[in-house]
């Protein structure tokens, strides 16, 4: 049994220690908001926060995160109040198919913790998620909108 703290709740999971965190989240904890896109740390669809920093959960064995603080897209809103990044996403209608957007939002929220008012260059350097629908124009707009909110 491996003990995990996910979105503030403790979980005990019975998984092979090499199982990627992504699959433990999706299949054992039942949090399917975190997506599988590539499995090899290329696309960012599986991005979650580990102790507040963005990581690609497809490429982290679950054993390595025992006892650490994990936040997924489902844990971002505060009750019914959306996180300001989610709100900016809604206001700017960022998602198309939406499949990449959990990861995109998690990457952006982590970026904003480090750089509360990111420049375009900060965004370019910090956000490397793939979106096949091509929502980047709205993503950039929404990042600036979120940064402008208190």
């Amino acid at each position: 049994m491996i003990g995990l703290t996910i979105n503030g709740k403790s979980h005990k999971v019975d998984a092979d220690p090499t199982t990627p965190l992504l699959w433990v989240l999706r299949e054992q904890v039942g949090l399917t908001g975190t997506k599988y896109g590539c499995g090899v740390a290329q696309c960012g669809a599986c991005t979650v926060h580990l102790d507040g920093a963005a990581v690609r959960s497809c490429s982290i064995p679950v054993a390595a995160v025992a006892g650490r603080r994990i936040t997924t897209i489902e844990g971002l809103a505060n009750g019914t109040k959306l996180h300001k990044v989610q709100q900016a996403w809604l206001d700017n209608e960022v998602p198309q198919c939406g499949y990449c957007q959990s990861g995109m939002i998690m990457a952006v929220t982590a970026l904003l913790k480090q750089k509360p008012k990111p420049t375009d260059a900060d965004i370019d350097a910090g956000i490397t998620n793939i979106c096949r629908c091509g929502t980047f124009q709205q993503v950039r707009q929404a990042i600036h909108a979120a940064a402008a909110r208190a």
Partner: protein, 730 residues
């Protein structure tokens, strides 16, 4: 198991997934509460007003959508069209998908479910508006009947019906039950577009909220009680078969339940979790007979295409005058050869489907672009009669043409059939998805243009050589052997009509098919045809010493809407004034999927090979623009799909198989590569058939940038992607 999925499971026999995950099973009123989007009350059973409209007592409007939402916004656009004629309160609108099985049972009352070819709205706008109008007439009649007044004295707006003379009012929700008992009127009159209040407006999408919460359930996310998970490996070479596999090597692994053959060519491991299944599959010894294509390489395929460039036999897709004579009599000719590679769709969500089979019933949950095709495939694969089968459409994590094909649905059914009573979710790994695609057809082109002594363009021959999609997918749609789709953007007048007048023209296709399965890849054949034609048009303009826009203007005198989009982008980018120092421009235009599209690019180039795309101006004239805000998003997204392909993407063949396995070797743009895209949405109206939105603009992305690159460097790149030439984003 989370609540959403428990409910899905409970209701699965009847549910219909709707907007924002809120579903009302075909007027059965089932609700699937989803944390952020649940509506308050569980509504009672409500009969439909007609096939397109259900109105609940609380005035909620449920609009039925036959086409699939895959990000392009069709759910919202189609709902706008129905709501416009229904004259309902837009803030009360939700949507649901009828099932394909229900469509069959009701004699295809919702008509076509196919969502491809940018046809969702343009092919159905009339009958869905009629559906909304008919429902409105019925609701008004029901109110008039209750009041005992003539319907002609009543009017409807914003879901409220008013009796003019008395001022009495009621709401749709109050009369919906009575309306449902009335006959559905025929021959309803539609509004004049100038009176539209919902169509043509940038209303907000209906499906955004669950996507920012991580609450949207995609096919890959579905969980049913007792469900097992399957990971699959199909023969890496198309046309091969499974000889044998050693299940005993993995059956002892944790969670592994079954190792099964699927059809002739694939093997699945079925386990408690997908990760266990995938891990076991990697350890499973499988012996494939790779079949007759096991030695084919890209070089072999290229050689066949090169041969086709000068072959005597070819299908003529478009011609006028005598191009061959004009070219042999020309004072001067210009010639160029271009080549376009295979591409994978690489939808963000890999292929998947879930199936539950018993001898009495087959249920399939599929993220599909064509519910009816999924249904037909499920019926055939299961061997059950159609009335024992249904398919539930579930949200798609991208489609781009890939999910019109049903291979993944067939596989899921073939697995489920071997495990009666157990729901099985089949999910492809990214590697499986990359190597078992339905690839953008591979194509080459040889172009020859001829000028007379006065520098007038007198002839053009464009020879295509390469793969036909229809020959593989719908051979019955070939016309005397010719694939008309090959000529998208180059064709005779029509939705893909050639946009120039050239006195002597010949456009023909030497069909050279390959064992690599082709498919409709967002933008389809317009993609390579626009590169071939629009780069070569620039070459011709330069050869005759003319400006690229002026040269095109002269050739589009008889093509006012082509000229319209061209001039729109030229104006906006400031073509008539010099660009800033170090900035170079290019343009391209085409008609594709019924829409006229043009792009102008501004780029700079560092060191001869590092491109920065600063700005794109893109115009589209679809005739009617149902939701301009969503059109802008489709246009901006087009430049990600089109430029990712131009810069990075190619699927190559070695030993019969596709070499690229994941995004490391088949990359896709990041935000840092994204140009600023300014969209010009030109709703020019008129009586011509409406144009599409999801695909057309992709085709002009690459040639606009390539033409700018030439101006910056003097280099014409004619084979793709650019990375083959050491050219990258700055």
């Amino acid at each position: 198991m989370n609540d959403m999925n428990d409910l899905l499971a409970m209701n699965r026999r009847r549910f219909v997934l709707g907007t924002a995950g809120v579903g009302g099973g075909l007027a059965l009123g089932l609700q699937l509460p989803l944390a952020a989007t649940a509506e308050a009350a569980t509504p009672a059973a409500v009969p439909e007003v007609n096939a397109w409209v259900v109105i609940r007592p609380d005035d909620t409007v449920v609009i039925r959508i036959a086409r699939s939402e895959m990000g392009q916004g069709t759910l919202t656009g189609l709902a706008q069209l129905v709501a416009e004629e229904l004259q309902c309160d837009w803030s009360k609108v939700t949507t649901e998908y009828p099932t394909p099985g229900e469509n069959v049972r009701r004699k295809r009352i919702w008509r076509d479910f196919s969502t491809g070819g940018s046809r969702g709205i343009r092919a159905s706008h009339e009958y869905v508006r009629e559906g909304g109008a008919a429902a409105r007439i019925m609701l008004v009649q029901a109110a008039a009947d209750q009041w005992g007044v003539p319907a002609a004295e009543c009017s409807a707006a914003n879901s409220v019906i008013t009796h003019g003379p008395s001022g009495r009012k009621t709401t749709y929700g109050k009369v919906a039950l009575a309306a449902s008992k009335l006959e559905v009127p025929k021959d309803v009159k539609l509004k004049d577009p100038k009176d539209w209040t919902i169509v043509g407006k940038p209303v907000r999408r209906l499906d955004t909220r669950p996507k920012v919460l991580g609450a949207q359930i995609y096919g890959a996310d579905l969980r049913l009680p007792g469900m097992l998970n399957a990971a699959i490996r199909d023969c890496p070479v198309q046309g091969g078969t499974v000889r044998s596999f050693d299940a005993s090597a993995v059956l002892g692994m944790k969670g592994v339940r079954h190792v099964l053959q699927v059809g002739r060519s694939a093997v699945v491991v079925v386990a408690d979790t997908w990760w266990q299944a995938k891990t076991a599959l990697a350890a499973l010894p499988i012996d494939f007979d790779e079949g007759p294509n096991a030695k084919v390489s890209s070089a072999d395929i290229d050689a066949r295409l090169v041969e086709g460039l000068t072959a005597t036999e070819a299908f003529v897709g478009n011609s006028n005058g005598d191009a061959k004579a004009a070219l042999s009599g020309a004072a001067r000719t210009v010639e160029a050869t271009y080549a376009y590679p295979f591409l994978n769709h690489a939808t963000m969500e890999p292929m998947n489907a879930t199936a539950l089979y018993t001898p009495e019933k087959l249920e399939v949950w599929a993220p599909t672009q064509n519910g009816e095709a999924s249904f037909a495939a499920a019926v055939e694969a299961s061997g059950l009669p159609a009335d024992k089968v249904d398919v539930y459409k579930i949200n798609l994590g991208g489609g781009f043409g890939r999910r019109g094909f049903q291979d993944y649905v067939v596989q899921a059914v073939l697995v489920a059939k071997q495990l009666p009573g157990i729901p099985v979710k089949l999910l492809w790994s990214r590697e499986e998805d990359m190597t078992h695609g339905r690839y953008h057809p591979i194509m080459q082109a040889k172009l020859v243009g001829g000028f007379d002594a006065q520098n007038n363009l007198t002839g053009l021959h464009l020879r295509l050589s390469g793969q036909s999609i229809l020959a593989d997918v719908f051979p019955a749609n070939l016309v005397k052997g010719m694939d008309p789709l090959t000529f998208q953007g180059l064709a005779m007048p029509g939705e893909h009509g050639f946009g120039y007048t050239v006195p002597n023209l010949l456009i023909d296709h030497a069909m050279r098919n390959t064992h690599v399965k082709p498919g409709f890849w967002r933008g389809v054949n317009a993609n390579q045809n626009a590169i071939f034609l629009e780069c070569f048009i620039d070459e011709l303009a330069e050869a005759s010493g003319k400006d690229a826009v002026e040269f095109r203007r002269a050739l589009t005198a008889n093509h006012p809407r082509n000229r319209g989009v061209l001039e729109a982008v030229a104006d906006r980018i400031g073509w008539s004034k010099p660009a800033a120092p170090g900035i170079f421009r290019g343009v391209a235009q085409m008609k594709a999927f019924g829409s006229f599209v043009a792009a102008a690019a501004e780029i700079s180039v560092e060191g001869g090979n590092k491109i920065k795309v600063h700005r794109i101006v893109a115009a589209t004239d679809p005739g009617y623009a149902v939701n301009p805000a969503q059109i802008e998003r489709q246009i901006a997204g087009s430049f990600v799909y089109g430029l990712s392909a131009l810069f990075f993407e190619e699927c190559t063949v070695k030993d019969g198989r596709i070499e690229q396995q994941n995004f490391d070797t088949f990359p896709s743009m990041h935000i840092r590569h994204m140009p600023k895209v300014e969209s010009i949405v030109m709703a020019t109206g008129g009586n011509e058939p409406w144009g599409g939105i999801g695909e057309p603009t992709i085709c002009v992305a690459a040639p606009a940038v390539l033409n700018a690159f030439y101006r910056a460097t003097g280099k014409r790149v004619r084979t793709f992607p650019l990375k083959k030439h050491g050219i990258t984003f700055a």
